[in-house]
């Protein structure tokens, strides 16, 4: 008889093998690990409805999804407590992601000029309300749709409801096939324990096919089905407040004597290994009361047992259960596997409230995405989808100045031009968002996320199209440190010290420092007062950039349309791509090399006490409107030891006290990361937190691995 621990260990082993298979068959992927496994070859293809080979609009999405649900392979494993795995990435299988009938050619020249990631046609990136899901179940959701179907009677609304009903029935069909499969496997299973587990899987699923879940196992399985369906539809990976979500079911089972903590940990382990969805634990409820409960700790214990790629965020607030923070940091240090991460309640709440929202609402805006917060079920956000490459904007401004007579050259003049172009770039990004909001329903309606949102079903409108209660729209700035350091180098080396002049600088930039004295000039540029060091010129410029960017984004808000634009500093995995479009910069960066991460300083910014400088600088650089500028923390393994848990905790808490919003941590041995870079297959279990997301190191492309390696080596 296998113990729970043995079952979890075999699931973990299987997951590693599945990941290896994914790399072998699909190649490298600079993305989240997800829980996706490789589907059988040629099993399913999209059904296009447009001559460009893609599919667009309500009907096409419903048809494609339901067709896939009908044919989707089933997945049942006798060691697992739950059925189902994610295999298809429907939205990615399209050759084109924006319906050409709704062109944005008028925006394209500026999108290119400023290297903007415009987000037009991008999907998900806001959070469903799982609580509604587990309360209603599929049957309850169908009843809700029928109820509003009888109220909202326009043909468009009727059709809207029909398609959502179709989608739910598609999912129910998929679940039904798993029930059949589990029963069939049970029939052929000779081992009595495995047989029983398969029968339990079948029964659990039978119980939630229509009705809402009642037990912890049923609730976990229900949540898994929703996220598997939603992942399949368009990669949505947002979770919710996991401990509070599961607590009533756990308490029910305990009261009924159905469960003990060993079983709970086993269920939670199986649940977490299914998919690294972004979950939050701890943190205040809307009235400020800490939400930590027994199940918060059991979740951490389960996570420790599977210790794969995990996206669990601990919300740190004044009233946090101190033991939860202790345990979280303990597991971070023990496993050195980039989980959990931490979000800072104080600054997030205060920032979000500054947009005119109540404290109760602000507390509900929780960590459910890569770098982002969302109000589950209440808002449409385009979080992490729209980014302005500020390094590119700087380059445009620099060469515009250089084209003028040299009497005009100064950092003052350059700043004015930068400001002007950044204004334009932010306007274009916002115009892109508005274009997206206007036409996204004709492109890619959110048939899954609509179901767990408050509003779309009630109004008969897609969440992108007025269905949501709030439109809190994110625009991120990228490359802050590159721009700050470039301004600092110009001011210090040209204007103050006269070590260089503008012509020399321009010559070097155009030649990418590849001249006879290029190496020397590059060193002069690199050693100027860098952003991240206290009282530095880099910091002064950083603050100026933070202020102007924040102001420009906020100005795009439109209260009449209930549109609030919220700035953040986050570059996700785009640091590489953004870098490719920017030539050499005055901070000594070579052409086409990656730009800096979010609000993080450029690597090697300071020799001593880097962790404190990092924590201080990034806390200071927050746009402070409710979105994040995460602290990407490469923690030295010689420090990240059990005896230093209190010190690490102190840095985390202090960062949040000073205004920090999110901390992503890597604890990586330098030697190990170098070896893994040379031969990733030797370290199939090595997980890194690339930015907000974790990934198996072996899954990253060589270029991306290099980026992670550089960051760790220079930390």
């Amino acid at each position: 008889m296998k113990t729970f621990d043995e079952k979890l260990a075999s699931l973990r082993k299987l997951k590693l093998a599945q990941t290896q298979e994914k790399i072998a068959l699909e190649g490298l992927l600079d993305e989240d690990d997800y829980g996706r496994i490789v589907p059988p070859k040629g099993f399913w293809k999209i059904i296009p409805n447009h001559q460009d080979g893609s599919f667009y609009g309500f009907d096409a999405w419903a048809n494609n999804f339901c067709d896939l649900m009908e044919k989707h392979p089933v997945y049942v494993n006798s060691d697992d407590a739950f059925a189902g795995r994610w295999m298809y990435f429907m939205s990615k299988m399209r050759p084109n992601k924006w319906n050409p009938e709704y062109p944005y050619d008028h925006l394209k020249p500026d999108i290119k000029k400023y290297d903007i990631i415009c987000g037009i046609g991008d999907d998900a990136h806001f959070a469903p309300d799982y609580e509604m899901g587990v309360q209603l179940g599929w049957g309850g959701l169908l009843d809700k749709i029928e109820h509003y179907r009888s109220i909202n009677t326009s043909p468009a609304q009727q059709h809207f409801y029909d398609l959502h009903i179709k989608v739910i029935k598609g999912i129910q069909g998929w679940i039904r096939r798993h029930i059949e499969k589990a029963n069939e496997m049970a029939m052929h299973e000779s081992n009595s324990e495995r047989k029983q587990n398969l029968l339990d899987i079948a029964q659990t699923n039978q119980n939630i096919l229509v009705d809402a879940p009642k037990t912890l196992r049923e609730a976990c399985q229900w949540i898994i089905w929703f996220h598997l369906a939603s992942r399949t539809y368009n990669r949505d990976g947002a979770g919710g407040q996991l401990d509070s979500l599961l607590l009533p079911f756990y308490e029910h089972d305990i009261a009924e004597n159905n469960i003990d903590d060993f079983t709970t940990i086993y269920y939670l382990g199986c649940f977490l290994i299914n998919d690294p969805v972004y979950w939050q634990i701890g943190g205040p409820d809307k009235n400020g009361k800490d939400q930590t409960s027994k199940i918060s700790f059991l979740l951490l214990e389960a996570a420790d047992k599977i210790n794969t790629s995990l996206n669990i965020t601990v919300r740190v607030h004044d009233g946090i259960n101190p033991e939860l923070l202790d345990r979280s940091v303990y597991y971070l240090v023990k496993n050195k596997n980039a989980w959990p991460r931490f979000s800072g309640d104080k600054a997030l709440v205060k920032g979000f409230m500054s947009n005119g929202f109540s404290v109760e609402l602000a507390r509900q805006r929780i960590a459910v995405g890569c770098n982002w917060m969302s109000l589950p079920g209440l808002e449409y956000t385009m979080n992490d989808l729209v980014k302005v490459n500020m390094a590119k904007v700087f380059e445009v401004a620099y060469y515009e100045m250089i084209a003028q007579p040299d009497s005009e050259y100064s950092t003052g003049k350059l700043w004015k031009l930068f400001e002007m172009h950044l204004t334009k770039a932010v306007e274009v990004a916002a115009a892109g968002i508005r274009h997206h909001l206007k036409y996204q329903k004709y492109n890619e309606p959110e048939l899954l996320l609509n179901l767990l949102s408050h509003g779309p079903i009630e109004k008969g409108l897609d969440v992108s199209d007025g269905g949501a209660q709030y439109y809190n729209l994110a625009i991120d700035g990228a490359g802050l440190a590159i721009v700050a350091d470039s301004f600092a180098a110009l001011e210090q080396r040209i204007e103050t010290e006269h070590l260089l002049d503008w012509d020399e600088m321009t010559t070097q930039l155009k030649a990418d420092f590849k001249t006879t004295n290029g190496q020397k000039i590059q060193a002069i540029c690199r050693n100027s007062e860098r952003y991240g060091a206290t009282d530095s010129l880099g910091e002064k410029w950083g603050e100026q950039i933070r202020d102007i960017f924040t102001d420009l984004v906020c100005k795009q808000s439109n209260p009449a349309l209930k549109q609030v634009f919220i700035p953040g500093f986050f570059s996700w995995a785009n640091t590489v791509g953004f870098g490719l479009s920017v030539g050499a910069t005055p901070n000594g960066r070579n052409a086409k090399t990656p730009i800096s991460h979010g609000a993080n300083p450029n690597p090697g910014f300071i020799i001593e006490g880097a962790s404190l400088s990092l924590a201080t600088t990034i806390a200071k650089m927050q746009p402070a409107k409710g979105n994040t500028a995460p602290m990407q923390w490469e923690l030295d393994p010689t420090f990240a030891k059990e005896e230093n848990v209190n010190l690490i905790k102190a840095i985390i808490k202090t960062h949040f006290r000073m205004g920090g919003t999110l901390i992503n941590v890597n604890i990586m041995d330098k030697k190990k990361i170098l070896e893994a870079h040379k031969d990733p297959s030797k370290y199939p279990e090595l997980v890194v937190r690339v930015t907000g997301f974790t990934a198996y190191f072996a899954m990253l492309s060589p270029q991306f691995r290099q980026l992670v390696v550089d960051r760790i080596l220079e930390s």
Binding site: Q519, K520, T534, L612, A615, F639, N646, A650, T654
Partner: protein
């Protein structure tokens, strides 16, 4: 009131409890062979040259008006006997290979910089540590920094070799929350050979601060061939076994070796291997035998 420091190290975690800022004072009255901060020895500025960083651009040579710099087969040679420490070469060095060690700084400025991390000290139970060099050799400067910190409720610690006049110690007693004092060996002759001074005064001062109810950590750097024997450690244990102090054994390491060459100094420990973790824990057991409390054990 100003003084000479080498650097202020933020997030120092080996120099007292919590997260601390360690202020390294420049100038020391001892010359311990194993010192890993030789840049703090001189009571004056020092020119440091890091060969690995040098771009061989020779701008420094052009800048030196008294020709104290020249090229050699592998980088730059400094004629230190001629160098006036004017610092002109360091100003033009693009790479940071040539730097001037030492900063003359006001006590208020030291505290201003240290104070920036006060929030980290509060959260972690940390504070400021005056280290060196020998902080008590710049007594007035040290006193001023400590009293400014006290006024701001910053926890104060000092690392001292105690080879100073008791009056200096007396003056600081009310300002120091934690004394960290080296007890390197009990034997005066060995002490003199490896540090340049005998240890009678040190031990006397050590007892003096304890008698004045100060909080004290006795630290023993364990150096192979100098004091890494059971007998030597036992004799230290006998000295402190009945005293209200905690102890720390610090294993010898070679992390400061490069600095000797960069500063043009002779490293008398050259070739010596770091103390193994195993040997260190063997010696730590002796402390346990004597029932002596040790603080968290870091090297």
């Amino acid at each position: 009131m100003s003084g000479l420091i080498t650097t202020i190290q933020r997030m120092s975690i080996h120099d007292g409890p919590g997260i601390r800022s360690a202020v390294f004072m420049k100038g020391c009255n001892l010359r311990c062979w194993w010192c890993h901060n030789p840049e703090t020895w001189e009571f004056n500025f020092q020119l440091q040259y890091i060969n690995d960083k040098c771009l061989r651009c020779n701008d420094c040579i052009k800048k030196c008006e008294i020709q104290a710099l020249d090229t050699e087969a592998d980088g730059i040679r400094i004629a230190r006997e001629r160098c006036t420490l004017c610092g002109k070469c360091t100003k033009v060095c693009p790479s940071g290979a040539l730097t001037m060690i030492g900063e003359q700084v006001e006590a208020e400025e030291v505290v201003r910089r240290v104070e920036q991390d006060i929030i980290f000290y509060e959260e972690s139970g940390g504070g400021i540590t005056l280290s060196g060099g020998e902080p008590l050799m710049q007594l007035d400067f040290t006193k001023k920094i400590l009293s400014l910190c006290k006024a701001k409720h910053i926890h104060t610690a000092i690392e001292s070799n105690l080879m100073v006049h008791p009056k200096a110690i007396k003056a600081l007693l009310p300002l120091v929350d934690l004394w960290m004092c080296d007890i390197k060996t009990i034997d005066p002759a060995t002490h003199k050979k490896y540090t340049g001074v005998s240890n009678e005064r040190i031990i006397k001062n050590f007892k003096y601060i304890i008698n004045n109810n100060a909080t004290v950590i006795a630290r023993t750097p364990v150096i192979p061939g100098f004091n890494d024997t059971e007998e030597c450690i036992e004799s230290i244990c006998k000295l402190i076994q009945d005293l209200p102090v905690k102890c720390e054994l610090l294993g010898f390491h070679t992390l400061g070796f490069d600095k000797f060459c960069q500063l043009g100094l002779t490293n008398l420990c050259s070739g010596l291997k770091p103390l193994t973790a195993q040997r260190l824990s063997e010696l730590k057991r002796i402390f346990k035998k004597y029932n002596i409390k040790t603080t968290h054990e870091n090297i």
